[in-house]
Subunit: 360 residues, 4 copies
């Protein structure tokens, strides 16, 4: 494994779905930084399971315990370690999976990589649950960035073929971003949200699942962040975002659409406004040559449908090396996209804070 | 800058479009490995400029000079350095760009990041020309991988709205991959290729440019490669691929399409064939949980249209901080997608060789 | 901070002397590896405080809790996290130190670096207590190495001017190494040990402290380990060993003595024995050009005298920026050298396991 | 190999003693920085071979060629690549060494590591010649640091048993440092220098060689540099210094001497002078807890005697796996210590600049 990320703000994520605890070490936080724990808890709640009809029935306190890194609640320069106990685990659900890997999951690839020693319970280290410590680290970074005037928010851009309205890449405001963050269901258009929920509920009734796209924006970034060729903004954000289970694609600005445009359509004209250089459009998604332009950074991540479905599936029995049928019981989100929204924000915040640290 | 990449095979790319030379250091090649220089030269030719109607008129020998790392043509364990002299440079073309940044290029962001000291000539370190040393490193890695039975090839999936047929993600063969590599125009369907060339020529006549999508496949990879969460196959490939100028998106397997599917449609059923576990479909693109499954690894990268176009564009005069018009003269590809194909292969090869090194 | 180390086996150490807990994340352990917990506990006991007359009176259970990384006690490929609760802490002892830094400690430099926000209690993250998680990680690596036939052990080479006999760098055996590890007081010559203990007791009575030199040997290493120029054995071992508080020097083989010799005296003659190339002497300490030769790896680390002494010292009052006197109360080792012995072994084991992982 | 170093200023060294060229890539130099080429040339001359009686007779222009990274002689933000051609190479001298490794050299360990494919000519990548590109990178860093008021200089502390006077660790001045740098023979006491030269000449006549100790000081560093536990000043400086061939030990401040002292002798009392906190002595060598204190940073490196000696030595014939006699012909420094002095300065400068970059 290599659950380490970062150069200036270094994180190290540990835990399995059913180990005693999961957690994260965060090294490099600015000494003197005071974490707003209420805000962090509220942020964590956005990805917490069991809150509503479209998420897994597993409920956990997800009570954060800070083992180190703070002195009287203030970052003291030492690495911070936060852990979350795993309480409500039903390991028995997963016993048969040791032999029959679930399609779409990492059961098989982990089995090969770790010689059959991988912790199969709940998906082990590959579980979506490991995004909780990512959100702890990211939630803290979001706060650090906010105090520098940098806001990051994401919303569901689409679920199946239902589209939300997109962020306006040019005039998006901190208010818009906060609205996305405080929505009970993280969309801009309430109507789209209603349709998405219905589609999720339909999939659930069918024993099936749905995927979607998440759009994320960061505003207030100074121009000049990013270290090309291989540590530019896109490189670094992509590296961490692909660490979130189920992400299968990422695009910045116009992304795959830009491949269909002409240069005259895709180029963003520069102009001067209020003594600052801006672009009239933001097809570049705030990044040119790997470096921030000062315009909002916009990216989208594709989330595949939850591989755990109730329908019977074809798989193999590994000890017998024979074809087998598999029906997965247990509790599963029919669509993880809503809960993945804060995870995407967290990942972006860590990547950006890591690049920003000289300024922070 | 951070033009360094890799953990086991480390590369360091240097040079500007109009510096004396560009090049790459490659550290970690297997000692005893004999580079096939003819094959490498042939590979380099695929990205070389000036070969045909759709690429820039700049012609260079792109003669590779190996300064170190070889003993009688065999890798000796010491870092290899290869350089390419910059001969045919017309720096005068770029003089006005120091003041007026080209839309869609890194001129403005580099100006801010480097306090106006960036080398503006030909785009400096941001030039597509810097993919030549990437291709040197990647071309060598491709050879190393080939001797392990691993083949990597890419083709143009689309230019504007013209689609090539896709690789078959399940039964793609080494023969298919080699066909893609030896095609004069890197497509599978000659008919699509004809249409693409025509579209490029049309764009050129209009003083405009086109983008496209490149699809890349790697076959023969063992199951079990990749170090999740943050050094998995997708994380590492994405990090390097975004180092290629103009890449704005990347997706693995079904990618953004998977976001529109149900789990029952997107999951790939496992089965046993000839004593090996395979999947009947390959929507996962050969990677589950960041780890290779043994199925072909498939990804696509979105390339934006060349920002350099002949049409007049809006920009700003930086010293005057005032709006300005810009018409770019000089030589430019109306579409870099064909030449980017080997660059994508090279990037994938470096990332995979870096992960494979324990086996190599 | 940057309490991260390693490329293949990555460790991340967290905690302060008086935080809720201290601990370590270890990523990259071989899946399937079964930790011998009794052996690990025995190893940890060698550095535990409060065991005898020459160490601090602070007693702690140092009960290890494994939060993750194991499935039924076997390494499962996921990052392992081990924590140790801090129970017996008397923070009141340290209150005045916030204003008056202790000479020889990191109080002042941490105060400057972290803007006064550093956790001063017990030395915070700079405390020798942070070597406990290092020993957890190192203790596990020692076991992994031992199963490959690699043994590492250290002993006190000197305390003040009392010398122990040195390891024989050529014919040192696993038995010799185990003897050093199981000695109650980690020396080879019991007589030297008696004198050292007496010297420590004398220093304690005087309210003063002593330093010393630790010699460490690793046998069974294959020739060919180490990646010059900057990740050779010496580079990597030195980097981690200087992470142990109070280490002020390190030397390999003849080290500083070699600077006084002629080449004809210092060069080690090669010869063939039992079909293997060996050296008749081992002045090179098992490393030539940063790469292991197959001979025992030998190094020594200099440990400065414990800076915490009972005698009144000159310091400054930071808020007042005025000279001040300081008398340190609390519990302190008059000599940490005996307890640093397993820490040195642990550090060496981590560095070597990190380099060995391809073989493990 | 892993001839890469650095996090903010990244260097990549390439070349073999007898390859076409040797060189270095330096990534992360401050854009706008103007290199003083005369000063750099003068610095390089201090390590150049063939200048006087005590160094190898190999003469080379060591003409630096800058391939990239500059625009009109000013650092432009892109990676800088500098190369030095290898002109005066007599490869025939080394033919027999392919079979019979030289004692004390890396011939044997490289043979094992690289499966016999290592470039044996002149020691290949292990040659002291590879310190030339290190000095290029370091010479530039020295200039960058000097403009921040940071001066680094080294001198020969001892050769065999002849001692130079040491730097005064408390009151050493920039003037003292410059004197050391401009001395024809890099010592403080001209008398000691005379004796050292005589000793070297005697060793040369005997067909033998000598080692020595180099002391290095850095003044003007702000307090607060260094990232403990594993990227502190000592860790990082040690990692790079052990990349210089023949270094077998390093110590900071009192180093190994501190192991013989009591805490009351070794602790440095703080006091306030001119509104700044200082220490009355500097036994800590300017580093406490891995972080600079603002006092001069002082370290010493042990250099073993040149392994190449004219006397007949015992070795082995590798293809025959039999004992063999070896007499080394060719040109060799009887003592590399004088030429290693600027290399130590260069290494220290790179490590410090890498840590300083936030400030630079």
């Amino acid at each position: 494994m290599a659950s380490f990320y970062g150069q200036n703000i270094k994180i190290s994520i540990f835990g399995q779905s059913h180990s005693d605890a999961i957690g994260v070490v965060v090294d490099g936080l600015s000494a003197g930084f005071k974490i707003d724990f209420d805000q962090l808890r509220a942020f964590m709640l956005r990805r917490a399971p069991g809150r509503n009809e479209y998420s897994t029935k597993r409920r956990e306190e997800d009570a954060l315990e800070f083992l180190s890194g703070l002195d009287n609640g203030v970052a003291c320069g030492a690495p911070l370690c936060a852990v979350i106990r795993n309480s409500d685990t039903r390991s028995a659900d997963y016993d048969k999976l040791r032999n029959i890997p679930r399609p779409g999951h990492a059961d098989y690839t982990a089995h090969i990589k770790y010689g059959g020693h991988n912790d199969i319970r709940g998906g082990g280290h590959f579980s979506g649950r490991l995004t909780a410590p990512l959100c702890v680290a990211g939630g803290i970074c979001l706060q650090m960035l906010a105090r520098q005037g940098i806001e990051i928010a994401a919303h569901i851009q689409s679920i199946a073929d239902i589209e939300d309205v997109a962020f306006d890449p040019v005039i998006i405001s901190a208010k818009d971003l906060r609205a996305a963050k405080t929505a009970e269901f993280p969309v801009i258009s309430a109507e789209s949200g209603m349709k998405m929920r219905q589609a999720i509920e339909n999939a659930r009734r069918d024993g099936d699942s749905l995927g979607g796209v998440i759009e994320c924006a960061a505003i207030g970034l100074p121009a000049g962040l990013g270290e090309p060729m291989f540590d530019g903004v896109e490189n670094r954000v992509a590296q961490i975002v692909f660490g979130i289970p189920a992400v299968k694609g990422i695009e910045f600005g116009n992304g795959f659409i830009s491949a269909r445009l002409r240069g005259s359509e895709n180029n963003d004209a520069f102009y001067v406004e209020d003594g600052a250089v801006k672009t009239r459009t933001n097809n570049h998604g705030g990044v040119l040559g790997g470096i921030t332009s000062g315009m909002p950074v916009i990216f989208r991540a594709a989330i595949k449908p939850t591989p755990s479905i109730a329908l019977e599936q074809e798989s193999v029995n590994l000890p017998e090396m024979a074809d087998a049928k598999l029906t997965i019981s247990g509790r599963h989100d029919p669509c993880i996209v809503p809960r993945a929204v804060p995870c995407i924000e967290a990942a972006a915040a860590i990547a950006i804070a890591d690049m920003m640290i000289r300024e922070l």
